[in-house]
Amino acid sequence: MGAAVDHVSPMGMSGGSAEGNNKSDGQRFSCKNKLTALVVDNGAVCRAIQTALLRSYGVETEAVETGEAAVQLIASGATFNLIIIEMLLPVLNGPETARQIRAMGAQSKILGISAFFDERHQQEFLAAGADRFIEKPLSPEIVIPIIWVLDN
């Protein structure tokens, strides 16, 4: 684990290979079409990271803190190709948020996400209309295929 020391730069971009990730040739995957995403998470750190990750692939991304804010946004006419919703949101929880978004007719791909994988939570999310449920962190391995499908 970890890149070879000689090629690691501080704050780094590793010059080499090591992780065999999506950019071994230095080019980062980027979507061709205009794609939009919404991140719904009450944690600032997760919001910041998920937003930055999606944006790094060329996806126009917004982030809100609560399920209610997400519902309001969509009720006001905003549409998103992808919506990522944290499970344990304070008032309107993840599944409930997903349910309300679906009830408004949104066709977005909805990803339920949580710090701990829990089958019960997965079932709740899927029953509410989410397409998938994953454990954090939101990784390139998960997100790139999703973006690719949306893009094509």
Binding site: P10, S30, G43, L53, A115
Partner: protein
């Protein structure tokens, strides 16, 4: 000359974080999100993490003083803590979060309290290491080679 020396040291420091299990590959994901548009992304996110987490730690400490413990509440706090710790690649902290949750689920007060003490230790150790790292990085100065460009 001296700068190169500093950079080498910095790279070794960084490598040790991975070798010693303090950080995992998720930290590398953060580094890869840093570019010309977000030149201080890693430090900013880590700073945000420490700011947010200190509040959570306080809440959990207070919750652990209750008798009996409200395991549901503790679980919710830990949920957020694990989420952010995982997202920055804080490997040891994340492991303690997982352990804590197991004790919550089992209703084991002693286990929770013990694990939380350990968690706080790991958290503090990582914080010191990362603070030193960012400070050294600032002294070593920015790299001349351009960051990967986004197109």
């Amino acid at each position: 000359m001296e700068r190169n020396q500093m950079r080498r040291q910095l790279a070794l420091m960084r490598q040790s974080f991975f070798d010693q299990g303090f950080l995992d590959e998720q930290f590398i994901q953060l580094e890869e999100l840093q570019d010309d548009a977000n030149p201080n992304f890693v430090e900013e996110v880590v700073t945000l993490y420490y700011r947010d987490s200190s509040r959570l730690i306080l809440n959990i400490d207070q919750a652990l003083e209750r008798n009996p413990l409200d395991f549901n509440k503790l679980d919710n706090y830990m949920h957020q803590f694990k989420g952010s710790s995982t997202s920055i690649g804080a490997k040891k902290v994340k492991a303690e979060c997982t352990q804590f949750r197991e004790y919550c689920k089992a209703g084991n007060s002693e286990g929770c309290m013990r694990t939380f003490q350990q968690l706080k230790k790991e958290y503090a150790i990582l914080k010191r290491k990362l603070e030193a790292y960012f400070q050294q990085a600032r002294q070593a100065g920015p790299l001349e080679t351009a960051c990967r460009s986004r197109n």
